[in-house]
């Protein structure tokens, strides 16, 4: 149909968006991340002492799924991820709405809420381990002042996982709030004005304007904190080491314990299991969130 085109003159003009812009990042990423990850796929099929690796097929995976607490660990992992990301969404959104409104002392509130993001996880873990001590901890001592006998936050097997999750939210909600603030200020004021003319109440404003229009921010917060929750390790390790017993074990801490015990192949197999778990949960989730995003 366009037979009269002039292919002979087709010197490729340099693109405004050249592919080599990918190159530096791609090199660093492939060499230091992708290559070891691919190597680990092989090691997950071996009995590996670090000194030599013996190929044993899928035995590691079989063993990993025989781990008495793996199932609980899987459940814990999902619970932890759901709680932390859920709370970060809800609390982050609330705080962001509050901080974008005409509230007094906004600067103070913003700083204070964001500040825990800055402190190292290990430091936060150590601090809260002290604060949550069942008898000497400040939290329970304060509760005692008003006549409440505080629970064993980190030593009660029913509570430990939730306590760590709460600390995780405490530390991470500042970031979620900032993402939401960015999302909220990007919503054109017209929508609120239109809603006001339509007679919407503040609550209706929130549910019919703010909530749907901040969906991109929600998608970001959920994706990041959900993945973070599934992978979480340092905070659990700093606070409970998966205990008491196995009560707050997650897949990541089970993996780490295998690793510590010198079961490198087994632990690498656990890595692969964790990766699959994350992929199974996160890929559909992001697809869902992104599909919704497409409407806007």
């Amino acid at each position: 149909m366009t037979a009269s085109a002039v292919p002979a003159l087709k010197i490729q003009r340099r693109s405004l968006y050249p592919g080599w812009f990918y190159a530096p990042a791609a090199v660093v990423y492939s060499v230091l991340f992708l290559a070891p990850t691919l190597a680990s796929l092989y090691f997950s099929l071996t009995r590996w002492t670090l000194f030599d690796a013996t190929f044993i097929g899928f035995d590691n995976f079989a063993q990993f799924f025989r781990e008495p607490f793996l199932i609980q660990g899987l459940v814990n992992t999902v619970i932890y991820a759901v709680i932390t990301s859920g709370l970060k969404v809800v609390v982050g959104m609330m705080l962001a709405v509050m901080l974008t409104s005409q509230i007094m002392a906004r600067g103070y509130l913003r700083s204070v809420i964001f500040f825990p993001v800055l402190v190292s996880t290990i430091g936060v873990g150590m601090t809260f381990t002290v604060l949550m001590h069942p008898t000497l901890g400040m939290i329970n001592q304060s509760l005692a002042l008003i006549g409440i006998k505080g629970p064993g936050w980190l030593v009660d097997p029913k509570l430990a996982l939730f306590s760590v999750a709460l600390v995780d939210v405490w530390k991470g909600v500042g970031l979620a709030t900032v993402i939401y603030i960015a999302g909220l200020v990007a919503i054109p004021k017209d929508y609120y004005e239109a809603a006001r003319i339509d007679g919407a109440t503040k609550l209706q404003n929130f549910f019919y304007v703010t909530l749907p229009l901040s969906r991109p921010a929600t998608a970001t917060v959920i994706t990041l904190s959900f993945i973070g929750g599934l992978r979480t390790f340092d905070l659990i390790w700093a606070m409970t080491k998966g205990g008491p017993g196995f009560a707050s074990d997650t897949v990541a801490s089970v993996i780490y314990k295998q690793y510590q015990a010198g079961f490198y192949g087994l632990s690498t197999a656990g890595n692969v299991v964790l990766f699959i778990l994350i992929a199974v949960l996160v890929v559909p989730l992001t697809m869902f969130l992104n599909r919704k995003q497409g409407f806007e």
């Binding site: 968006y17 230091l32 991340f33 002392a105 103070y108 964001f114 800055l118 402190v119 601090t127 960015a182």
Partner: protein, 275 residues
């Protein structure tokens, strides 16, 4: 009416955030002022006397002034890797957002994979050794860049999509080459996200504990989080020193925050770029 409601709301918010967010920090600070005996009580009380400076001295001089080395190392790692991250991630984000090719799907998959896959430690160490980077700051920096790239790229890509493509074109008409467009037009416009990136990544890298633990062995390579860890058992009976240590290593992120605080907010509020 309205202002009174918001006044009460404001006071309630200030009180609540004070209890939830400020008191734990006050606790850390108070502990750092106490002596060993008083800190062992682990309560929220006024220090008996001023022991901050002796605690600081004690923490800093421990193990042959390791804290000084650690601060230098951590700062170097943080500054260099964040700089590299910003440039590399923005370059990827720029092309990724602007140029639609069949590779985009693969690249996005790799980015998501990078967010999801837990790194494989020992194979990485072998590789670093092959490259003669094991136990060096260079190696550590590259590791941090590799591990944190996906997050930065995602931040940038989303923001670049809001920058009108006509700006690139105007620059091209003005005679800009791709590098000019990127460094003179796009990168400056990304400043709000760059601030976010600087804050989030520098704090993350400065506070990283696991990766230096594995990839950066040796005293001369100590980083600040490792000092906390090294001293934890040594200080396990001296809470004053433990919390002094926590306080000390929280200062650099705090400075980053104070430096960029206004810009985080301003950058965030700027929202989409106006032309």
């Amino acid at each position: 009416m309205r202002s009174r409601a918001s006044l009460f709301g404001g006071i309630a918010a200030i009180a609540a955030t004070f209890v939830v967010f400020v008191i734990p920090f006050l606790f850390i600070i108070l502990m750092a002022f106490k002596d060993k005996q008083q800190s062992a009580l682990r309560d929220f009380s006024w220090p008996n006397g001023f022991h901050l400076f002796e605690n600081l001295y004690e923490v800093i001089k421990t193990r042959n002034w390791m804290m000084i080395t650690a601060f230098i190392n951590s700062s170097l790692i943080t500054v260099v890797s964040v700089t590299l991250l910003i440039v590399l991630a923005a370059m990827v984000g720029f092309v990724l957002a602007r140029r639609k090719t069949k590779w985009n799907g693969l690249i996005e998959f790799l980015i998501l994979a990078g967010l999801m896959i837990p790194p494989a430690v020992v194979p990485t160490i072998w590789l670093l050794q092959g490259l003669k980077l094991f136990g060096t700051l260079h190696g550590m920096i590259l590791i941090q860049v590799a591990y944190n790239l996906p997050f930065s790229i995602i931040l940038y890509r989303a923001f670049i999509a809001t920058i009108p493509r006509e700006l690139d074109e105007a620059a091209v008409i003005d005679g800009a080459r791709p590098l000019d467009v990127f460094f003179r037009i796009i990168l400056p416009l990304l400043w709000p996200v760059t601030v976010t990136n600087i804050v989030v990544q520098s704090v993350g890298i400065f506070n990283d504990f696991t990766n230096p633990l594995y990839y950066l062995p040796g005293n001369q390579n100590a980083t600040v989080q490792l000092t906390l860890y090294n001293f934890q058992s040594q200080f396990s009976t001296a809470y004053n020193l433990l919390f002094t240590n926590i306080l000390l290593i929280t200062i650099p992120p705090l400075i980053v925050f104070m430096f960029f605080n206004r810009q985080i907010v301003a950058g965030m509020t700027a929202g989409a770029v106006k032309g």
